[in-house]
């Protein structure tokens, strides 16, 4: 079994989000957020970080502040409605901030390979288009916390070359709010039955923290003045002559054109003498009337 570990670069963490402290580092966090945006992309997968199993001691705390400690929590999975069983381990560094907040960085994941029994179960899931379910503890320090966070996906979404999976773990301090599990790409419907060529997991993991909302813009007086003007119906001060009076100009133009054509027709007719009116006499009359303008348009 091969486990691809993804190190999620976590330069700064969500100190602002941790409940005990709300602070002043909002600008820093925004920088941080931009990095989060990139995390999902494959280029962050660093192949050199092959798993080095973290030491059996799950937590060790250093005495100094802003300290790091290693932490582990396990991933459980279930096939359809079966009970959950261990499927892998997440390990991360727990960073304790000087102001008391704690956050996870450098998340790594080691996936246990499927046993033959598991493979059989998974094949059954694929056949019946059933759900493959995973769960994580809702608190990484004292698992399982209040409850497990569960996520499921139709098993047919996972197989590609191997089994591709994608975790998005939403954190709030040391609490796991939710885990979103699924295939890294699309899972088109209708889902076709397809068995994986290799029974190995290709895992992508992303840790996500809350973004900070943009603040409502605070404007100074002169812009407020602009707002007042905008509150009313916006009347552009100068509009072109055409824009203002087109509704009068067009009919006027038409009338003028009518008159001109009539004036032009008249000498023509006088010159040619009596033009025999083909067809019905009325049509001839019309021809000389305003219709010529319409015809020329």
């Amino acid at each position: 079994m091969k486990s691809v570990k993804i190190i999620v670069p976590f330069l700064l963490t969500f100190s602002l989000l941790s409940f005990s402290s709300c602070g002043f580092q909002s600008d820093e966090l925004l920088v941080d957020d931009e990095e989060f945006g990139l995390e999902g992309s494959p280029r962050h997968r660093s192949p050199e970080t092959v798993l080095t199993r973290s030491p059996p001691v799950t937590r060790k705390r250093h005495s100094d502040l802003d300290s790091d400690s290693k932490i582990q929590f396990s991933l459980d999975h279930a096939f359809g409605d079966s009970d959950f069983s261990p499927a892998g381990t997440f390990s991360a560094r727990l960073k304790t901030w000087s102001h008391g907040g704690q956050s996870l960085t450098k998340l790594r994941f080691s996936r246990n390979s499927f046993t033959d029994e598991d493979k059989e179960k998974f094949k059954n899931l694929l056949k019946s288009d059933d759900f493959y379910r995973i769960r994580l503890p809702s608190n990484v320090l004292s698992p399982p916390g209040r409850d497990f966070v569960i996520s499921s996906v139709k098993a047919r979404c996972l197989p590609r070359e191997g089994l591709d999976e994608h975790f998005v773990i939403h954190m709030e301090g040391v609490n796991v709010l939710a885990v979103n599990y699924g295939s890294p790409g699309s899972c088109p419907y209708p889902r076709n039955l397809k068995f994986p060529a290799k029974w190995s997991f290709n895992s992508h993991t992303v840790l996500k923290n809350s973004e900070q909302a943009p603040r409502a813009p605070v404007f100074t007086e002169e812009i407020l003045g602009g707002e007042n003007a905008e509150g009313e119906v916006v009347q552009p001060p100068e509009r072109s002559f055409w824009a203002k009076y087109w509704m009068y100009l067009i009919p006027l133009g038409l009338i003028v054109m009518n008159a001109v054509t009539q004036a032009m027709n008249m000498p023509e007719e006088q010159a040619t003498g009596q033009v025999p009116a083909q067809g019905q006499p009325s049509a001839g009359a019309v021809q000389r009337g305003p219709s010529s303008a319409a015809r020329r348009r």
Partner: protein, 985 residues
Amino acid sequence: MAIRSFFIPFLLFVLCFCSSLSPVLSLYEDQVGLMDWHQQYIGKVKQAVFSTQKTGRRRVIVSTEENVIASLDLRHGEIFWRHLLGSNDVINGIDIGLGKYVITLSSGGSILRSWNLPDGQMVWESFLQGPKHSKSLLLVPTNLKIEKDNVIVVFSNGRLHAVSCIDGEVLWKKDFEAESFEAQQVIQPSGSDLIYVVGFSASSQFKMYQINARNGELLKHESATFSSGFLREVSLVSSEMVVALDSTGSILLAISFQNGEISFQETPISNLVEDSSGPAVIIPLSVPGIFVIKTNSVTIFIKVIGKGKFEVVEKTNHETAVSNALPISEGQQAFALVQHAGSEIHLAVKLAHDWDDNLLKESIKMDQQRGIPHKVFINNYIRTDRSHGFRLLIVMEDHSLLLLQQGAVVWSREDGLASIIDVTASELPLERDGVSVAKVEHNLFEWLKGHMLKLKGTLMLASPKDVAAIQSMRIKSSEKSKMTRDHNGFRKLLIVLTRAGKLFALHTGDGRVVWSHLLHKSEACQSPIGLNLYQWQVPHHHALDENPSVLVISRCGPSSDAPGVLSFVDTYTGKELNSLSLIHAVVQVIPLPYTDSTEQRLHLLVDSDKHAHLYPKTSEALSIFKHEFSNIYWYSVEDHNGIIKGHALKCMCIGEVVDEFCFDTRDLWSVVFPSESEKIIATVPRKLNEVVHTQAKVIADQDVMYKYISRNILFVATVAPKCSGGIGSVTPEESWLVAYLIDTVTGRILHRVTHHGARGPVHAVFSENWVVYHYFNLRAHRYEMSVIEIYDQSRADNKDVWKLVFGKHNLTSPISLFSRPEVITKSQSYFFTHSVKAIAVTSTAKGITSEQLLIGTIGDQVLALDKRFLDPRRSVNPTQAEKEEGIIPLTDSLPIIPQSYITHALRVEGLRGIITVPAKLESTTLVFAHGVDLFFTQLAPSRTYDSLTEDFSYALLLITIVALVAAIIVTWRLSERKELQDKWR
């Protein structure tokens, strides 16, 4: 051709003319009431006090369960004045002091107010503090004076206060320190300066305090113990005796405290009534010499004869309401009782000391749909022949209020409409051969009479009464209040469910009640509590000749796992088609997007054991359901412990009884909010029946963005748990608000954003691909509104025309939510001046018309705000292209334009909800706002671009056309003549 060439310029003229006439968003003064209506209600009356002085208008002051104090006209039932107290300011008692002040005690007995009786102005207000929480009692003695001050006696919060009636000053107060003393009655025997406070202490002790009314000095304090304890309620039978029940409800106790001596007289109920069964309850009343107990469904009237001797005077199985006693003449007190018997109610007014003699006995036919009488209040007047006449104010089961006098209903008010819990809209019947289906057409005689009236009116012979009749007929026959469907879809029925469990159908044209239906009571369920309203069957009128129906879900008892009741009600007639008493509870109702061949919508009902039940229970529905079995997902929010769960169906229920309409469910996902930092305060899903016209949104630089319009998104707002306290309970540093967009099929968190320094309450509305929410910003000390728009990136590369031409796009491929979503969000926050009671959004038939937010402000008005103001793409200096697109330059706060209040000068008191219903005309939406008042109007968010407005001048159009035709004929003639001349030349 001649015609055309003439016509075009004129047509242009006409068009220009029309466009210059197109209406502004707001109304002109004379347009008020053309399309909107407003109705004022007060709610279920708790207490009523009559004010019938010899001079001035007859009125009744009422307090209601909606916390309204109102003064009603006794002649017509109209509201003179009305005050709505806050929802946490529950009224405990009202009375009239000095004949000109209305005294109200509210907020758990801590606020005493006085209002001017004629106009409802507040005169004074005083706050009464006390050591502990207790029952609140208000007593306004008529003749108790301290230094020329009339006195109000208030027992509240464990303290007795004497308050001046003139200015609300507390004259004296007396604490009742005894740790568990619970006062039941405050008695002031008329003509004495003593006040008695009686009550229980430590459940088995009866206490009596005698207090000097002049200075609050405690004169006497007695207590006596009764070993088996008391039930809490007492009935006052004289100024020296109360009647109570022991804790088992089987022994009657006459407690007399004459001269400060307490003595008990026990009488087992079985001695009085042979076949009594079950524990009794005493109905708190104050009728001298008589009290009422109730065992099971039997109401027993018992008279007190002598010292502690009882005598049963009447037993009845009918539902009975009894009024308090009313002194009518020296030493005589009368009271009323109202009994419900079938389609009639029997009234009786009796003297307190003489049971067998009735001062008044009447039977009145009563609408079955009003249910049983709940409360009765009595008032007397002097008839023309100098005898006593009585009028009764009764409150019925459906919360309506009626005044009965001389054997007739003088007026009635449908005050159940003050507490609407759910609303849905229904189409009206189609017009067939000029006869409306609802049979509002009258017979030949009435038709003739109507025409006679009209004739009279035109000949100026009509009396004022006739004029009123003609006017009402005109309103009735006018277009907007017809009982048939109209072309534009403006006429509809609003089906509303009230807290009393009554359905009303309101006509959108004028707001009248077309029919009403009290929820059916069955053997299995005595008092169903209405919960929700769903559209059950909406037949397409060409395919099916059947009336539409609604599904009413109600619960058989107050607890959430009580069994449910389904009622199916025809929306044209108000008849109950069917009623099902379920064996399971109803926790969640999921209307499925499938209908069977009779166009009944499939509904999935989830019970408290997480089983899902399919309705209707037909094999056809089952086969449709089986087909979509694996595509049905839903979610549940457990907001008490901060968990949101997603569910899907598993298999058929496993149980002893095979029920093929019952399914087991399973949990698919869960989101667990950390309890120490987040608490769910708002969850808003997208509206189920919303129509989105287009997924693509063309932005300024000819680019296209695709809206993420999945129906399965839930907006969740959480706040720091500390923030749930009152104002000032948190500093900005320790409060935050987190907004989530969660996919309800997979449980994915699509977007998550934290607002620091923000706190609830949160009001949100979700439509198309955006959500707007309103909260308070502690740092800026202002309310804020934020918008989140969510766009689908997976379709973003379908911009190439050639791709579209050659079909190499993915626009038609089915979307699976199990794919990883590629979404981007845009958001922006703006300050908003008002706090908000409700937010809704306009909805139109095809979703083409731009949307407006409807904001129910704290002033109980509804403000329409263009969605464009809440565009996250607003920037300080929009480019020319953006301006053309309609992007408004960025401002920090949202403008409140006074003309855009759709309620104009009116207020929808106690506003709770705003409902929008699309009309058939695309530009128009129907808006219904409800609270204690009701308000309805039509709204055209982008103006009525698809129809001519009311004030369009058809005459001018006709004149223009006639003039044109004439001009054509004249010119034709002229040219013909000219041609002839030319030919002859």
